[in-house]
Point group: C2
Chain length 209, copies 2
């Protein structure tokens, strides 16, 4: 890092800012019109940028989608890593879920979550990117579940990989709900969500309860 | 019914067949290219029909989407009504979920589930249709949960409406998974799904267990 000149550092920070501005504009346009109906021209207008400048960073819509997914994925380890150090593993998992539902822990790409799934279904390239990012999140969560089992907080009889699949399906479903009803009142759902996760992860027999 | 002449009955059966053929063709085209990229011409070709014939039944893409959602919805009461008479309510709910995951109990519109969610997010007309159909399913499932509570099989402390929201989110998430990985091996997920649903619905203290 110390080898980089101040000039090249400024330049790279400026490039990061430009990329962020374009990706935010793309998310807004894709959310409004969908991937296919949104044009590169609309994204340029939303970002306040010339087509030449935009194409220098992103040559195609697919490259924009890829960068949006990658940006969300890049945030995940930072957001979920604390789960690997939590004293109360199950409590931390529940809290992460509740923070996700409340909007405090949502990826920048959330407004196009449904659109992304739809595109991943029919576009093998986007499907592969999505799979790669999902695998990373699943691997991290599987380590969290294994750690909870080692600490005696999660049922050791539970298959960690399948448990994460189930919890991910639940999170996907909540994300679908949030995408369809961004203003929904989720206060009633929160305790029910906590109940579902705690009971799912608890050991078979709970002495004293 | 006895008032209808054989000729008009034959005509209406033929109209039903035509509608079904068009909707199947539309699902195939939408799954392949998405709502926006799929053209009415492609749907005509897939259905082996002239544009004139197709437009007589469906004047627009929105009317096709509406009819696809409506067709799925029309099947739901028949598919889920047995839950209202099951002796083992929780077992029947689990079984319905497993049959859904295995493909035995999936709506015809399943291949465009992700596409539909994406369209519902940005198209208020499709959103309203989707909401109406969802409400019908939620109402039916809420009656199922209330019945399970009355029979002492489901925790009476559970809010039936919120419980259905949670179960629906889980089903939505599994549907997203199925749409993204139609050939995924779900055999490992099935027992984990059953565990999650049974424990979620069970009364707080389970004497003798």
């Amino acid at each position: 890092m110390s080898l980089a000149s101040p000039v090249s550092e400024t330049r790279s920070r400026r490039a990061d800012d430009q990329r962020r501005r374009i990706l935010d504009a793309a998310v807004a346009c894709f959310a409004r019109s969908g991937f296919h109906a949104a044009s590169m021209q609309q994204i340029c207008a939303e970002a306040g940028m010339s087509p030449g400048a935009l194409y220098r960073y992103f040559p195609s819509k697919d490259s924009l989608i890829e960068a949006i997914v990658e940006r969300d994925r890049a945030d995940v380890p930072e957001l979920l890593a604390p789960l690997l150090e939590a004293e109360d593993v199950v409590g931390a998992l529940v809290e992460a879920g509740v923070r996700f539902m409340s909007g405090a822990l949502q990826p920048d790409g959330m407004p196009i979550y449904a659109e992304l799934c739809a595109e991943a279904v029919r576009n093998p390239h986007i499907h592969a990117i999505n799979q790669r990012c999902e695998r990373e999140i699943h691997d991290l969560l599987t380590r969290v579940v294994r750690r909870g089992q080692a600490l005696g907080q999660i049922d050791p009889a539970l298959d960690p990989v399948e448990a994460v699949r189930l919890l991910s399906a639940l999170a996907d479903g909540l994300a679908t709900r949030l995408a369809l009803e961004p203003d929904a009142d989720l206060s009633g759902l929160t305790p029910v969500f906590e109940r579902a996760v705690r009971r799912f992860l608890a050991a078979q027999t709970e002495p004293g309860q």
